[in-house]
């Protein structure tokens, strides 16, 4: 039930009864213009991540059922669905963060560039170096801004001019202008929205192939959220972004492809965002999107 109240204003969008006029305006703008043109101009893209019949169990409870989908390169793919539907679990399968939970067990195949990441010869640490991740709650380290961004370079032993990479990453995360004079102050002194952009800068500094985002804007206010959304739009030019979100408007605004998970860990619908939102195949998805349940 809490899910329903959480996403109340999102789910009522088609009826025009949204509680947040700014968010509504932004939605119309991006959805009608940017959203359509983006998918038109990009054309067909190669598949980067592919899931084949993935099942995930937490002890005896099945969290994901038979997930099969293909995530295209240099696109934004959104995962939406009610709480507990397994969308975050799926995201954490891609970089094997589920390995850190003793009770979790993954079956099926999850391919990154055609290689199953659950093969025995795959080192999860090496895998995570190619897949960046941004978490729901901003979680910068209690280090300086510079050290936060350089953390990935440092632990991965990357060569190169760290100063330049840090500057570039912060610029790409649209944070440089705000912090360039205080690179050596603690990352925890920033505001929540700035902290989240710092986390994005940290994730992209080692130049990963995929960027996973687990509800990156859910802890932020509307202004900070719109900044993060603009940023994701820019990032999609160079990175493959997979974003889990609770906010259906957000998914509609920023993503090229959308996957809808529903309770029970099933993938009910997957396709171009436009089609999923305007003309879903499944009645359950239509009910969810129009706010009849969720």
């Amino acid at each position: 039930m809490t899910d329903h109240t959480d996403s109340d204003d999102d789910t009522r969008r088609p009826d025009g009864g949204t509680a947040d006029p700014t968010a509504d305006e932004m939605m119309i703008e991006t959805d009608v213009t940017d959203g359509l043109s983006a998918s038109d101009t990009h054309g067909a893209a190669e598949t980067l991540v592919e899931a084949r019949n993935v099942d995930v169990y937490y002890n005896d409870v099945q969290a994901l059922r038979d997930i099969t989908l293909e995530i295209p390169e240099k696109r934004v793919t959104a995962m939406i669905g009610p709480s507990g539907c397994g969308k975050s679990t799926f995201l954490r399968c891609i970089n094997r963060m589920n390995d850190l939970i003793d009770a979790a067990r993954v079956e099926g195949e999850l391919l990154l560039r055609g290689k199953n990441v659950y093969d025995d010869d795959v080192d999860p640490v090496a895998l995570r170096r190619r897949v960046g991740m941004v978490f729901q709650k901003p979680n910068p380290f209690p280090k300086s801004i510079y050290d936060n961004v350089a953390y990935g370079l440092d632990i991965q032993g990357k060569e190169g001019d760290y100063d330049q990479i840090v500057e570039e990453s912060l610029k790409r995360a649209a944070l440089w202008d705000e912090v360039k004079d205080q690179l050596h102050t603690s990352g925890l002194d920033l505001s929540g929205g700035q902290q989240q952009r710092l986390c994005i800068a940290r994730a992209i500094a080692p130049d990963p192939e995929v960027l996973l985002m687990d509800e990156p804007a859910s802890a932020l206010d509307p202004v900070a959220t719109s900044k993060i959304e603009d940023l994701i739009d820019d990032l999609a030019e160079e990175y493959t972004v997979v974003i889990v979100t609770h906010n259906m408007q957000q998914a509609a605004r920023i993503s090229d492809k959308t996957a809808v998970f529903l309770t029970g860990g099933e993938l009910v619908e997957f396709g171009d965002t436009e089609q999923v939102f305007q003309n879903p195949d499944s009645d359950r998805v239509e009910d969810y999107i129009t706010g009849k349940f969720g």
């Binding site: 979680n139 380290f141 209690p142 632990i155």
Partner: protein, 550 residues
């Protein structure tokens, strides 16, 4: 219906609070009993030891006028106008007092236990292989890790122990290459003691100050502060003898008291100029004390006939209670403390990191868990028996030495160190670990870069409090055969050691007599409690800073 709701309510009745009020005051009484009892006891003992009433009334009046009134006045003013600067002023005074105590201990070590030459030799012998290891790590060739590890181990071994060293000694091979530590000591020409200390001891606080200044005001300021700090120490060594302080204690005082206090004051003045007014407080305290001393001297007012005086702190036990002192016991306690800290800190933190970050959640782990908590509750006399049985009887080391005592006390506080370190590690938010693993960090990198730095203040706080427990223990020392009375400081790990609580216990039992009860025992207790309170206050300040950072 409508008329009913419109009638004015005359009152909602009363609910009795009597039981609740009684309960509340019973709780308050329970809280106060312990604190009041302890305070009364401490005041009683302090009165016996310091005997403030033996001073001239003029002495009290003078210091009341020059020190107490101005301090309270300024303190009250700051408390109302700007509590934050009062806190800064209090911190400065506290820092000076605690570091003065600490300096006393360090000076004692350099004067009577480890001579500056030996210290310098071991610093060089540790620094040289460290430089080699860091150089290998930074070099562009970057040899494989295991090779670097092997080179490092060999370098430290040769530098500290020589070739073939103790391993060869076991096999009967004579020493071919002397260790670097011995080689340095046998150099024909060495600078004088205070210069050795300047380069091997004072550089540390000077470097910390320089790094701080650099982070605040840039590289040039850092260099300047570092040079000035070393100059201050050198000046203290040259000027010390003129006012009756020999060079080695002067260097220690300058490095341990003057530099940190000046650094704190300078830091406040540079980074928080609006709080500068708080720095008046230490000025008033120091100025008031000096002014009072001058007035008392001029007017000829006699001070209190305190049992805790310079003579008590610097002489050994005597059959005559008035001449008895605590010096060997203080030195013994310091040496025990160093040994205990060196043994229990790595073991305790290591166990805590393993149990929190690495151990799988299985029966063995849970079994160890429960038993660590149980060990924390085992009486200290049992640990004394363990020390006697294992170290003295089984391993055959002589009884009552610094090493045996330190190892026994380390075992005693090990469970407490483990438990408090685990608490500190557990309080690191899981978000941080997730972020680190998500960046592709290994477990080791996560522990090293995220978990340990974040939990370090908490670990340190717990360890200091545990050390406070060790410093007050008597029973384990008696069990391992530490002598009650010692007339000189232990100079190495295998010499016999006494400790402050043991000496006080001896005065109260073996030499029990009215003189010792009235003079030596209270004075010893006051010194012991002062050291303990100083250690606890460091722990509390650390913990407060740690909590405010989160």
């Amino acid at each position: 219906m409508a008329t009913d709701t419109k009638t004015a309510v005359e009152g909602f009745g009363q609910v009795s609070r009597t039981v609740g009020a009684v309960f509340r005051y019973v709780l308050l009484a329970a809280t106060l009993v312990g604190i009041v009892a302890l305070t009364v006891l401490l005041v009683f003992v302090a009165n016996d030891a310091v005997r403030p009433l033996t001073a001239d009334p003029g002495w009290h009046l003078t210091f009341f006028g020059t020190l107490v009134v101005p301090t309270l006045g300024l303190g009250g003013y700051l408390a109302v106008r700007d509590p934050e600067s009062l806190w800064i002023g209090g911190m400065t005074v506290g820092l000076a007092v605690v570091s003065l105590l600490f300096a006393g201990g360090v000076a004692m070590i350099f004067v009577d236990i480890v001579t500056p030459v030996v210290w310098f030799a071991y610093v060089v012998a540790l620094a040289a292989p460290s430089a080699l290891v860091v150089g290998l790590h930074r070099s562009s060739v970057e040899p494989p890790y295991l090779l670097r590890l092997a080179v490092g181990v060999v370098a430290y071994y040769v530098s500290l122990l020589g070739l073939p060293g103790p391993v060869g000694g076991l096999a009967g091979v004579p020493q071919v290459v002397p260790s670097l530590a011995n080689a340095v000591q046998s150099l024909p020409v060495l600078p004088v003691d205070w210069m050795l200390l300047l380069v091997s001891f004072s550089v540390l606080p000077a470097a910390v100050l320089a790094a701080y200044a650099r982070s605040v005001a840039g590289g040039r300021a850092g260099l300047l502060v570092g040079v000035v700090a070393l100059a201050v120490v050198a000046l203290a060594a040259l000027a010390g003898p003129a006012i009756g302080i020999t060079t080695v204690p002067a260097v220690v005082l300058a490095s341990v008291v003057v530099l940190p206090t000046a650094g704190y004051v300078g830091g406040v003045a540079a980074t928080r100029p609006e709080r500068r007014v708080g720095l008046l407080l230490p000025a008033v305290v120091v100025g008031g004390t000096l002014l009072g001393a001058v007035v008392v001297e001029a007017a000829g007012f006699a001070g209190p006939q305190s049992w805790v005086d310079w003579q008590f702190l610097t002489s050994a036990h005597s059959r005559n209670a008035v001449d008895a002192g605590l010096y060997p016991a203080i030195g013994g306690s310091i040496l025990l403390m160093v040994t205990v800290a060196l043994l229990s800190f790595p073991l305790g933190v290591g166990a805590a990191v393993y149990l929190e970050e690495y151990a799988p959640d299985n029966r063995l782990t849970r079994f160890i868990d429960v038993n660590i908590s149980n060990l924390a509750g085992v009486p200290s006399v049992v640990y004394g028996l363990l020390g006697l049985g294992v170290f003295v009887r089984y391993l055959g080391s002589p009884s009552g030495t610094v090493l045996v005592g330190g190892a026994t006390l380390a075992l005693l506080i090990l469970p407490i160190v483990i438990i408090s370190s685990r608490e500190a590690i557990r309080s690191v938010p899981d978000d941080m670990r997730q972020a680190s693993y998500g960046m592709g960090a290994t477990r080791w990198q996560t522990v090293k870069n995220v978990v340990l730095p974040r939990s370090f203040p908490g670990i340190l706080t717990g360890t200091i409090l545990a050390l406070g427990r060790a410093i007050g223990e008597t029973a384990p020392l008696i069990m391992i055969g530490a002598p009650d009375v010692l007339f000189s400081l232990p100079t190495e790990l295998s010499s016999k050691v006494s400790a402050m609580p043991l000496q006080v216990f001896a005065w109260a039992s073996l030499y029990a007599g009215p003189d010792f009860y009235e003079k030596a025992v209270p004075a010893g207790v006051v010194v012991l409690v002062t050291v303990l309170l100083a250690m606890n206050s460091i722990a509390i300040v650390l913990r407060n800073r740690y909590q405010s950072e989160q």
